[in-house]
C-alpha cells in the first residue's frame, strides 16, 4: 500500500489553501491508479480547512466515485483530530451528493430553485 505523509510532502503544517489541497489530490489520484488503497497520514498538522479538504479528499471521492464505504476501504486516513475526521466525512458526503447530481445530469436551475433556504 502506498503511504503519503501529508505534512512532509506539502512542506507545511498549515493545510489551508485549495492549491495545496490540489497537490494532495494529485498524489492520492496517482497512488489509487496504481494501488487498491492508499494510506494518508496527517500527523503533526496544525490547521485544516474545508477548502483544502474539498479540493483533495472531496475531489478524490467525486473523481473515483467513492461513497463513504468505498472511500474508507481505499483511503486509510490517520493522524486527524476527531473534529477534523467529522469534517472529512461531511466533505465526502457532500462530494457524493454532487457526484450523484452530476451523473443524473440534473438541471441545476431546477435543482437550486427547489433548494433555496427560507
Amino acid at each position: 500500500m502506498k503511504s503519503i505523509s501529508v505534512v512532509e510532502t506539502m512542506g507545511t503544517r498549515e493545510l489551508l489553501s485549495p492549491d495545496l489541497g490540489h497537490r494532495l489530490y494529485e498524489l492520492i489520484r496517482d497512488a489509487l491508479r496504481k494501488n487498491d488503497s492508499v494510506h494518508v497520514d496527517f500527523a503533526t498538522y496544525e490547521f485544516l480547512s474545508s477548502s483544502f479538504l474539498n479540493r483533495s479528499l472531496g475531489q478524490i471521492s467525486m473523481d473515483f466515485d467513492l461513497d463513504q464505504e468505498r472511500f474508507d476501504r481505499r483511503i486509510q486516513i490517520v493522524g486527524l483530530e476527531k473534529d477534523d475526521i467529522d469534517d472529512v466525512r461531511l466533505c465526502v458526503q457532500n462530494a457524493v451528493m454532487r457526484k450523484k447530481l452530476l451523473d443524473k445530469k440534473i438541471d441545476l436551475n431546477q435543482y437550486y430553485s427547489t433548494h433555496l433556504a427560507h
Binding site: 495545496l20 480547512s49 474545508s50 477548502s51 479538504l53 475531489q59 436551475n109
Partner: protein, 283 residues
C-alpha cells in the same frame, strides 16, 4: 461642510448605512471629506479603508471627533487627513489593525496564519488550544471565500477590536468584489432577492463552483462554529443582509446597496465553545 454619520450598531439597517457612506465619499467635491461621528465600529473602519483605497484613492478623511481620528490612526487607516486632530492614544492591544490580503491562495493562507499568530492571539490569552485552531481555520475560510468568489483584485481587508471585559472580539472582512447575490443569481439563473441569495450561499453543500468540483462547506462550517460559540455572524452584500445569533436567523433587504461583501463576526473567548460535542455536554 460636514456629514453627520448615523450611530453604527450591529442592526442590519445600521450596516446598510455603509452604502450611504460610500456614495457620499464618492460624491464629495473636495479631496478631504470631513465626517461627524463619536464612535466607529471595526466593520466601518474596515469598509472605509478598503472602499476609499479602491474607489477614491486620492481622497482623505477626517472626523470632527479627535478620538475617532486617533482610533483610525492606531488602526492603520491609510487615508486619514494630515490635519486631523488626534486625542490621547487608546490601548493599542485592544485594536486589531487593518490588514489587506491579496494574492494566490497558498501565499495568502501563510499570511493569514502569520497574522492571527502575531496580531490576534497574543492579545487574547483566553483563546487557547482547539479554539485557536478553529478560529484560524474559520477566518481563513472567510478570506478564501472573498478571494475565490468575490474576485476583487484589491483583495480583502480586515480589522477588529477586542472587548476583554465583555469576553469577545469583533472582526470584520470586506471585499469590493462581485458580491454574493450577483454571483448566486448568475449561477442559479433565478430572480431571487439579495437576502435570499445570501441565505442560500450559507447552506451546507451550496456553492457556485461547477458541479464537477467538490465545494460548498466553508460558510456552513463557519455558521456551525459560531452557533456553538454563541457569537454573531453577519453578512451584508449588495442589498441583502443575513445574520445569525444563537441559531436565530435574521434576514433583511437593505435600502442602500453595499458594493461587494462585508462579513462581520463576534467571537466569544471561551475555549469550551468550539466543539459541538463539548457544547452539548457542558451547556
Amino acid at each position: 461642510m460636514e456629514w453627520q454619520l448615523p450611530h453604527f450598531s450591529l442592526k442590519p439597517e445600521s450596516i446598510g448605512q455603509l452604502g450611504v457612506l460610500g456614495s457620499t465619499i464618492l460624491a464629495w467635491a473636495s479631496d478631504c471629506v470631513t465626517l461627524k461621528s463619536k464612535f466607529l465600529r471595526p466593520y466601518c473602519v474596515c469598509y472605509l479603508e478598503h472602499f476609499v483605497s479602491k474607489f477614491a484613492a486620492s481622497r482623505f478623511i477626517k472626523f470632527e471627533e479627535s478620538s475617532v481620528n486617533q482610533y483610525l490612526a492606531q488602526s492603520g487607516f491609510s487615508h486619514l487627513s494630515g490635519d486631523a486632530e488626534l486625542s490621547t492614544p487608546f490601548n493599542q492591544s485592544m485594536i486589531i489593525q487593518l490588514q489587506r490580503f491579496a494574492g494566490d491562495s497558498t501565499t495568502v493562507s501563510r499570511q493569514v496564519v502569520s497574522w492571527v499568530k502575531q496580531e490576534l492571539f497574543p492579545f487574547i490569552p483566553a483563546i487557547k488550544g482547539a479554539l485557536k485552531k478553529h478560529v484560524t481555520e474559520n477566518l481563513w475560510e472567510i478570506v478564501n471565500n472573498a478571494l475565490t468568489h468575490g474576485r476583487c483584485p484589491h483583495g480583502v481587508t480586515t480589522c477588529g477590536q477586542f472587548y476583554p471585559n465583555c469576553g469577545y472580539f469583533e472582526i470584520a472582512f470586506y471585499d469590493a468584489g462581485l458580491g454574493i447575490p450577483n454571483t448566486v443569481r448568475t449561477f442559479a439563473g433565478k430572480d431571487w432577492s439579495d437576502d435570499q441569495c445570501i441565505a442560500w450561499a450559507t447552506q451546507e453543500g451550496h456553492s457556485t463552483s461547477p458541479l464537477a468540483e467538490s465545494a460548498g462547506l466553508g460558510l456552513h462550517l463557519l455558521r456551525q462554529f459560531l452557533t456553538v460559540n454563541g457569537g454573531i455572524f453577519q453578512i451584508a452584500s449588495e442589498n441583502g443582509y443575513y445574520g445569525e445569533h444563537h441559531g436565530r436567523v435574521n434576514r433583511a433587504l437593505l435600502r442602500n446597496k453595499i458594493e461587494g461583501t462585508l462579513v462581520n463576526l463576534r467571537i466569544i473567548f471561551d475555549e469550551r465553545l468550539y466543539s459541538l460535542e463539548v457544547s452539548d455536554e457542558e451547556h
